[in-house]
């Protein structure tokens, strides 16, 4: 009886668990990330097909600022480190450090978004609008969608910090932080692909 009670307590602490012994929340997040691969697969395919279609406006090699984008990539990569440190702090029940690492991750994410806004503004001033060419449309769609995902990630990080500070998490706190972390790492791996295929490999 006591054993059953302990088991129920654990289930409440760690969220809902299925007959597989795995967290349903985590299973759903991985399924979601698998489907997100399809979204970005389609966008990357479209870009790869249209990257050479420059009827009007500047060519990719004329406008890409590789040193600037490299710094942005580095910032996003390091945000993955701070995110995983937030997850390990949450697993140790260290709320102060969890919030610290989440704050740094959100700041790094915001820096990346700031860099993307600057890049888009510069490109637009150089004559690359959304409808200038097939290249520009596919470029802005792909990198714009990724930027939206990073922005959503920053909102998720800030929300997680808020609910941890207010002690509003009823289930497993570490799992909540881990789920946000999975999403955050996903936007990082998508950028790893974008940075190589779009920026470093010339059309």
């Amino acid at each position: 009886m006591a054993e059953t009670a302990t088991h129920t307590d654990h289930a409440a602490d760690h969220g809902h668990h299925s007959s597989t012994g795995l967290s349903n929340n985590k299973l759903a997040m991985w399924l979601f990330l698998g489907s997100e691969c399809l979204l970005f697969g389609g966008l990357i395919s479209t870009y790869m097909l249209y990257r050479g279609r420059v009827q009007n406006g500047p060519h990719p090699s004329q406008i890409y600022d590789i040193p600037f984008t490299s710094v942005s990539s580095f910032v996003l990569l390091m945000s993955s480190l701070t995110m995983v440190l937030a997850v390990t702090s949450a697993q140790r029940d260290d709320d102060a450090r969890t919030n610290l690492w989440l704050t740094i991750t959100a700041l790094l994410g915001a820096t990346f978004i700031g860099g993307q806004v600057y890049e888009f503004t510069t490109f637009y001033r150089e004559g690359l609008g959304f409808t200038t060419s097939l290249f520009s449309s596919s470029f802005y769609s792909l990198t714009g969608f990724h930027g939206v995902h990073v922005s959503v990630g920053v909102i998720m990080l800030l929300s997680t910090m808020g609910i941890i500070k207010r002690n509003k998490i009823t289930g497993n706190k570490a799992e909540v932080v881990e789920l946000v972390g999975l999403y955050w790492h996903f936007v990082d791996i998508v950028w790893i692909i974008i940075f190589t295929l779009i920026y470093l490999i010339p059309s």
């Binding site: 990330l33 790869m48 480190l81 570490a174 790492h185 790893i192």
Partner: protein, 101 residues
């Protein structure tokens, strides 16, 4: 789920130092990737960039996202999506290459 299994799920993964080492390796690979923009790698340019991209991708997924230490079901769900995405890409490219061009 037993208490033992719960404890294991909390303790899976690496130490903070381990994660920092992974991040340093990722930063070094990124630096190497950027160097291909300035240094002529000749015929190795494309293969080296693709290999570095895949290595970075796998390292983040395996270590930072804990797939290496987690249930194989998660790996199946994610890599199925990734495989389908690659399939979409290959089909789209093949369509344009063989039927439209």
């Amino acid at each position: 789920m037993s208490t033992e299994t719960q404890t294991q799920s909390h303790e899976h993964g690496m130490s903070d130092t381990g994660y920092i080492k992974i991040a340093l390796i990722l930063a070094a690979i990124t630096a190497l990737e950027v160097s291909t923009y300035y240094v002529d790698f000749g015929p190795l340019f494309m293969p080296s960039l693709m290999i570095m991209m895949v290595v970075k991708f796998v390292m983040v997924v395996s270590y930072f996202m804990h797939l290496k230490f987690d249930s194989k079901i998660f790996s199946f769900l994610f890599y199925t999506g990734l495989g389908l995405a690659l399939f979409v890409y290959i089909v789209a490219l093949a369509t344009f290459k063989f039927f439209i061009a």
